[in-house]
């Protein structure tokens, strides 16, 4: 394993420090317990959005702290949910009269630790559980679907609504709505390497891909032979559409997300494949975003996320945002 590292036990702390120093205009870092908060609290009362999860998915979530998105993010160890005291400390730091809204990806560890954190705070609070990964069949007997690249879209749009002064319930409901409008699915060509492990999480043959992979390199729907970009886009997009069922002519946001190890050139090629498919199906890609936003360390591969757009979602997607990883109109 080759990495920029001094001491494997300190990578998170050093990386967080660097992140803080590189973006003093946007964020500040609290160490022990670790969290990233906006450099400046909003002068107007607002619902405070806190997300978090295991590290290794950067820029998610720390890269999304700032005006128009999150108020704080709690980074856990690589691929391990953060601990409740992080959420408690972050909440106490950023609360701003209108309550705390936690945004949590649907994984047991995240859910449990965020619940324990929520139990520890006194402010009003609510939680949005993001579960956009259509690769995993949902059923009442299971943990349900994972939260993946759609999380960024929930954080952006709810973050925008919160800036308008909307209350906790409105923000929570809007987040649940955006989550419901959103479906994602990905494919991996290689495994990632967790720094502490020092070797790839899984073995995969040179001609195989993991279809429906999770963002921790955990196995997906099935292992299969590599397919052309057109073929795999078709399978992924059709699975997503089966789930979110857009109408003919409906407007959508299409997000092509890279897992970290795949060049931008390929991600745009994937966008081209997806765009063509949706065009054929008479679905209108009216917003788009392509890049490495929800990564799995150095894993090669990527995912599609599609969100059905109504006027509210478009408005809150287009609105100004000023974070380390997403920035526009300011």
């Amino acid at each position: 394993m080759k990495k920029f590292v001094n001491n494997i036990d300190n990578i998170l702390t050093e990386s967080l420090s660097g992140f803080g120093k590189a973006h003093t205009d946007i964020i500040k870092i609290n160490h022990a317990p670790d969290f990233i908060a906006r450099a400046n609290k909003s002068s107007k009362p607002k619902v405070s959005l806190i997300s978090g999860g295991g590290s290794g998915h950067e820029p998610l979530h720390g890269g999304f702290v700032g005006y128009g998105m999150l108020d704080a993010a709690c980074p856990g160890q690589v691929f391990s949910a953060p601990t409740p005291d992080q959420m408690e400390a972050a909440a106490n730091e950023v609360h701003n009269e209108k309550g705390i809204l936690f945004i949590v990806k649907n994984y047991s560890g995240d859910i449990m630790n965020f619940e324990m954190g929520a139990d520890m705070i006194e402010h009003d609070h609510a939680t949005i559980i993001v579960n956009d990964d259509v690769a995993v069949e949902d059923s009442t007997f299971t943990t349900g679907r994972r939260g993946v690249a759609g999380t960024m879209i929930v954080e952006k749009t709810v973050g925008s609504l919160a800036e308008t002064g909307a209350n906790l319930e409105e923000c929570k409901n809007f987040g649940d709505h955006v989550n419901k409008m959103t479906g994602s699915m990905g494919v991996a060509f290689t495994s990632c390497t967790v720094p502490a492990a020092g070797k790839p999480t899984f073995d995969i043959a040179p001609n195989e891909m993991e279809f429906g992979v999770g963002i921790h390199g955990e196995p997906g729907r099935r292992r299969e032979k590599i397919k052309s970009a057109n073929e795999l886009s078709k399978e992924i997009i059709e699975t997503i559409l089966d789930d979110i069922k857009p109408n003919k002519g409906e407007k959508v946001l299409m997000h092509v997300n890279g897992f970290g190890g795949t060049p931008l050139m390929e991600l745009y090629l994937l966008f081209e494949c997806g765009q063509k498919l949706l065009n054929e199906k008479n679905i209108n890609v009216s917003r788009s975003i392509v890049g490495n936003y929800t990564t799995s360390l150095d894993m090669a591969g990527g995912s599609f996320t599609i969100t059905k757009l109504d006027e509210n979602i478009v408005e809150h997607w287009d609105s100004a945002v000023y974070t380390a990883a997403l920035r526009w109109k300011m």
Partner: protein
């Protein structure tokens, strides 16, 4: 009577047993999870070992509570939340009037109940609870058995058997659940680490 020293001695044994089986636990979570379980467990054990000096003379419930808090604030992931819940749940149910045997049975039972609530799960879901629930049951059954060697032997066997039983289960909770049918054929990492911990504690009484 149970003392702080017993608890920290047990932690040391647990740590050794986990380290001895490090590669296997690592591999299990790589196969059906995300590969961090062994690091979570080791981090937690290392952190709580450091409390030996400061807690060894404290009352049992305080010891368990502090261990739980330490796990809660340093481990993270599913196992951090769950083991913290177990230990804090145990702390709450210590009764200085009861025998060790009674205390252990009651504390463990309630700790596991708290875990079930926290994890919204129960038996047969291919998790650490598939080890911890049967262990809690056998401990209750043996509440009046004075010979700790006999109890330890029974517990050890139950833990091992139930750990192995997770191999052919279909996971419905935790990260392995995303795998569906593909989760079958692999032992659950949390079940394995829990069983190794129980095994280490039991061996103290058997040998």
């Amino acid at each position: 009577m149970m003392k702080g020293k017993n608890i920290f001695d047990s932690i040391e044994k647990i740590q050794n047993n986990i380290i001895d089986n490090k590669e296997e636990i690592e591999r299990l979570d790589q196969q059906i999870g995300d590969g961090d379980h062994i690091f979570n467990i080791l981090r937690g054990l290392e952190e709580i070992s450091k409390l030996r000096e400061s807690l060894i003379g404290e009352p049992i419930d305080k010891v368990f509570k502090q261990l739980g808090m330490k796990i809660m604030t340093t481990v993270g992931g599913s196992s951090g939340a769950l083991f913290a819940t177990l230990l804090i749940g145990m702390a709450k149910n210590y009764n200085s009037q009861s025998t060790d045997q009674e205390n252990i049975a009651k504390m463990f039972y309630e700790g596991v109940e708290a875990m079930k609530k926290r994890g919204k799960s129960g038996s047969g879901e291919k998790t650490m609870l598939d080890v911890l629930i049967p262990v809690s049951e056998i401990l209750c059954e043996c509440k009046n058995e004075k010979n700790s060697k006999i109890v330890a032997d029974k517990v050890k066997k139950v833990a091992e058997k139930s750990m192995l039983s997770t191999k052919d289960m279909l996971a419905t909770k935790g990260r392995a659940s995303f795998l569906g049918e593909r989760s079958k054929g692999h032992i659950d990492p949390g079940a394995r680490s829990s069983q190794l911990a129980i095994d280490a504690v039991c061996n103290q009484f058997i040998n």
